[in-house]
Symmetry: C2
Subunit: 233 residues, 2 copies
């Protein structure tokens, strides 16, 4: 566990949060602050601060005389990076990974089209550099090095779109890519066709060809869905 977060409340959060996100406490379960304080051997104040954060994520609801109630999954703030992380670490990881991948496939092609219009020269250079890095590490079981370039490529792309909502999804894409490398069946080297597509996307963005950038990125994301057996829209 990485319960090393500074402060006791962070420690409590990193224990309680994953428990709830993983579904260990069924929705409707009530937790009492006193019991939690006893369980974690901290004061009620610390528990209250942790509960406030969980409440702000809509994971729980705190009511007087009742206690801290676990909310239904549909109410959770599923875009909160920590909620995403906790859920990916839990039981319904596959389901979560599919949801995120579908979201990614909707967003990233559009982001690529925007990037073709708004990317700065520096961002274009970074895209090309990371695409080249992917080529260089695509053979010979250099999966970790490949992942670094892949992640950086997509982060740069999303940022270059100039849309802050897109940009903030880079963590989601990073989680997807990391998940594929570390958990999915990826013992073999990356698909050469996918690597080529990244190079071509970088090229399309550099030359300002929005339609082409979008279409090529769509091919990448369709491939990502295929890996999870999601039929393309």
């Amino acid at each position: 566990m990485d319960n090393a977060g500074q402060g006791l409340h962070a420690r409590v959060l990193e224990s309680l949060g994953p428990e709830i996100a993983a579904g260990e406490h069924r929705p409707g379960t009530v937790l009492r602050t006193d019991e939690l304080a006893q369980r974690f051997d901290v004061s009620r104040t610390v528990i209250r601060e942790a509960v406030r954060v969980l409440e702000s994520m809509h994971l729980v609801e705190s009511r007087r005389r009742v206690g801290v109630t676990v909310r239904a999954t549909e109410e959770w703030n599923v875009y909160d990076p920590r909620v995403i992380r906790w859920r990916l670490a839990g039981a319904d990881r596959p389901r979560q990974l599919r949801s995120l991948t579908v979201l990614r496939c909707a967003v990233e092609p559009v982001a690529a089209g925007l990037a073709a219009r708004h990317a700065s020269p520096e961002q274009c250079a970074a895209l090309t550099e990371h695409a080249m890095g992917m080529v260089a590490t695509s053979r010979g079981q250099q999966l970790d090095a490949y992942l670094v370039h892949d992640t950086a490529f997509h982060k740069t792309l999303l940022t270059a779109s100039g849309n802050e909502m897109f940009a903030r999804l880079h963590e989601v894409v990073a989680a997807i890519l990391a998940g594929r490398t570390h958990h999915h069946v990826m013992f073999t080297d990356p698909d050469p066709a996918a690597v080529t597509l990244h190079v071509q996307v970088a090229e399309a963005i550099r030359t300002g060809d929005a339609a082409r950038a979008e279409e090529l990125t769509r091919e990448i994301t369709v491939g990502a869905m295929a890996e999870l057996d999601i039929l393309a829209p």
Copy 2:
């Protein structure tokens, strides 16, 4: 103001949050818990709980010996519903509205395509009902009634996609639609073409025509972008 949130910490949050989200405190500004306690006339405990929530939204960072520092905009959890609400109420409302609209335009067509495959009979009925409601209220300055149906239509559509990430964006779409009605230049009745498109989308989803549902929805969202002078991708 709707500072009626239960509890003192909620009251503090609903004052401090919007201030920060609106940019009244430049990034890097330090707030001291003691000063805040004095300013809001509450105990430091209450301030600390509010700060914890702001910290969980990545709006601020709390460090020992330094104080509570306002973070840069790029670090905010821009998908948190409250952050969205606060920013829409603040100065850079137009910018925020554009970002959200672009996101919506990337997501909603894909969601419509998925809905054509996964929508339940009840959801299909609801879509048709709300589309009809839009038709019925599209003339004669019934803007508020129209907005209710429009919002319900898109919420149902996003939910029917079966993807939880899409479903949770219904608040974003609701904010966009409400923003258009209440602030944008919409003194006239809605565009008849847009109303027709909604009816057709409902029909396409009912008949399971994913490609058509996606394309028709894309037309709706392109229209939404045009209203904000955003050139279509």
